[in-house]
Symmetry: C2
Subunit: 184 residues, 2 copies
């Protein structure tokens, strides 16, 4: 497939600490039409599925301001400048948000949250043999409840809309496929 768009220009229309809104202009090669697009620039993200030795998924419950509702999620967040790689960021977020540690972290997939309008990636990990070692390490304005969920209940929680976060569903899709291929 041909690359149908030639880049003409980009300007930052808005910027804060989490997002850069860019207005970009491209020319459509087949007919020369010039069109503007909006691209949202973000840092890359990570998320991680911690599973305990007795097959519980270590999930977190918190109030989310985007949807103004409570969500049930897996740990995750931004890759910070101090992280040497995405795996370290994922492990750090897991430890901070849950107090669980793991010495067996496996990369199970990488997702583009929305390639139509976002530039970033989300790296997804599985943390095997996750065990509680420390307390949570939260910012003064974080209220995160740890919730252990039987792994076999995950599909029902998704089906009944108790788990709705798109990137969490994508992570569980990667987990299902990773495990099916590991069992071949």
């Amino acid at each position: 497939m041909k690359r149908h768009w030639n880049f003409l220009e980009s300007r930052v229309a808005y910027q804060n600490r989490i997002v850069e809104v860019r207005e970009e202009t491209y020319r459509f090669v087949p007919n020369g039409i010039v069109q503007d697009f909006t691209v949202l620039g973000f840092a890359d993200w990570v998320n991680i599925i911690p599973i305990t030795p007795d097959e519980k998924v270590v999930m977190i419950r918190q109030y989310r301001l985007g949807t103004r509702s409570e969500t049930l999620e897996i740990p995750g967040g931004l890759i910070s400048e101090d992280d040497t790689d995405p795996a370290e960021a994922a492990l750090r977020e897991m430890i901070e948000e849950t107090g669980y540690h793991s010495d067996e972290v496996v990369h199970i997939g990488t997702v583009e949250p929305n390639p139509a309008i976002q530039n970033n990636r989300c790296y997804t990990y599985l943390a095997c043999n996750a065990v509680p070692v420390s307390g949570q390490s939260l910012d003064p304005t974080e209220a995160i409840e740890v919730e252990l969920v039987d792994r076999k209940d995950i599909p029902a929680l998704i089906r009944t809309s108790c788990i709705t976060h798109g990137l969490v569903l994508a992570a569980f899709a990667h987990l299902m496929i990773y495990e099916a291929s590991s069992n071949l």
Copy 2:
């Protein structure tokens, strides 16, 4: 769990036809700290997995400007003001982007693309017995190639990063779970 944030104010910092960037201020109830957040306001989205009578998934390949790369996706898009409901929007997008029709469209899940920073939902459908009836109906600047994929190859395409779109992975997670529960 208590609702930990009290809303104080919201202002639109940037707006165009696809996104409204809002700067919102909340007070954290437990300690009174006042904090600003960014919320991205979007219309609701839809996506749809069309499956033919011979078990092919009708996918689309296109160049995406967010990641500046080609993607393999399922049909989808915005719910427009002319759509009476999300199912109609999903069917319309499928017909426009692929020329395939279906008279058996089933809602298999609803996703929040990113509840931390976005307000919107993505409604996901399965279109059974999808058959080619018309040509594509594309805008002058859309270049979308239809690609029939053996349904059994989807997990391998996800595992090998040929399918990376987060909302497409979430849709396939819903499909896997929907089918497993239908087979009980």
